[in-house]
């Protein structure tokens, strides 16, 4: 019996220690975000590269995926609204669904799968190969040089791509409104503009920023904690991705809860 309590106590202490370390790391990264000294030429150069990798490079496939997937989803939502005789509320349904829920969450999943996994692997490989040690040896701050550009690009990419995805879904929504409700473009635009509020935009931006932050922070943190063995890299990536998806769900639940209160 004592062993069971010891075991549970050890797990709890380890968990609390992990949470404390993760929060401390987040605090350090956030603090460095506001320090002008963090923005040296090397950091800016990495930031530009990261923005290219996470926003520009993904754009063609994202647009294509967004158009097909987003249009189908919004089409289904419109069809449901018509079936349940909610045609007069179609504007607020589309705006609420697209801006508040689907666009940020879908983008977050996509960026997490693509860039989150890549960053987790990159940092884990750098840790194992001794490159992080080399940076420390040369007094190059890991947070400023490596982590901030990735975190900033993560935030920028999720916010930008969420907005783009929302626009694509709205275009898809028009095609379905035309098909099912024979709605003209002017009526569709009027319905949307009369339903959209600044809150919707702020909500999308705020939620996307939170997603973007954790999508980079958790893989970085997980990569940093890799033990120095090459076979530890897949384990670090696996752990990082599981933690990341849990964090995405927590943010989603918290955002839903915030809307309800």
């Amino acid at each position: 019996m004592t062993r069971v309590f010891e075991y549970l106590g050890e797990i709890t202490l380890n968990f609390l220690s992990d949470v404390y370390e993760a929060l401390r790391f987040s605090y350090l990264c956030i603090t460095h975000l506001f320090l002008p000294n963090s923005y040296h030429p090397a950091m800016k150069s990495i930031l530009i590269k990261q923005i290219y990798f996470t926003v520009i490079q993904i754009l063609p496939s994202f647009l294509l995926l967004g158009f097909f997937f987003g249009s189908l989803i919004i089409g289904y939502v419109i069809t449901l609204a018509i079936n349940y005789e909610l045609s007069n509320q179609i504007g607020s349904i589309i705006i609420g669904f697209v801006f508040n829920e689907f666009a940020p969450l879908f983008t977050a999943f996509l960026i997490a799968l693509r860039s989150g996994a890549a960053v987790n692997t990159e940092i884990a490989v750098m840790q194992v190969s001794g490159e992080l040690n080399a940076l420390k040896e040369f007094n190059i701050g890991l947070i400023d040089y490596l982590f901030l550009p990735r975190i900033i690009s993560g935030v920028i990419s999720v916010v930008t791509l969420s907005l783009i995805f929302a626009m694509i879904m709205l275009v898809g929504g028009y095609l379905f409104s035309l098909l099912y409700m024979n709605m003209s473009l002017n009526t569709y635009m009027y319905t949307l503009f009369s339903s959209i509020e600044i809150e919707n935009l702020l909500y999308l931006v705020g939620k996307s920023m939170a997603f973007g932050f954790v999508i980079m922070l958790i893989p970085i943190y997980s990569g940093l904690r890799t033990i120095k063995a090459f076979n530890a890299i897949p384990i670090a990536v696996l752990k990082g991705m599981v933690r990341l998806f849990i964090a995405i769900f927590i943010i989603e639940v918290l955002s839903l809860w915030l809307r309800l209160i």
Partner: protein, 162 residues
Amino acid sequence: MASFNIKFFTDIVLLESYYKSISREYGTHVAVSPHTPLLSNLNIIENIALIEEVHERYEREKSHANALEKLKKLNLQDLQTKRPSQCSDLELFSLSLIRASMMRYVTITVITPLVQYQSENSLEHLFKVLNILDVKERTIVLDLSLYENDYKDKGITCNIIR
């Protein structure tokens, strides 16, 4: 003629603990060792220019020009766009020394060059590079006692620290 310092150790544990003790003072020493490789996601010129971009806040053009100048001194300018994985061990050794030389006012500590770069002429190469880069006076080599004779056999002028 300026000479550099060498300190020999009976085993690697003593050597590493000595390095830890001298590097404890923040920003006074920089190591050239297998534990401080070049960054694999940057090319050679970016690896070297990175030091000045961070510490001197030089813009890309200026830091790259300075890095290229150092590469030219060692006739390694052809490597500038290559990745570290595309370079030989001896080239990497020279490039690590160039990168270390970009750090101003610090002692360059070369750790076990003979263990790192096992080649017939690695010692001559090391001293040739240190001479060309003009960093002999601020360089210290830490090596194992079993290689002491190799240094003597090559007739290299140095101060052995006891």
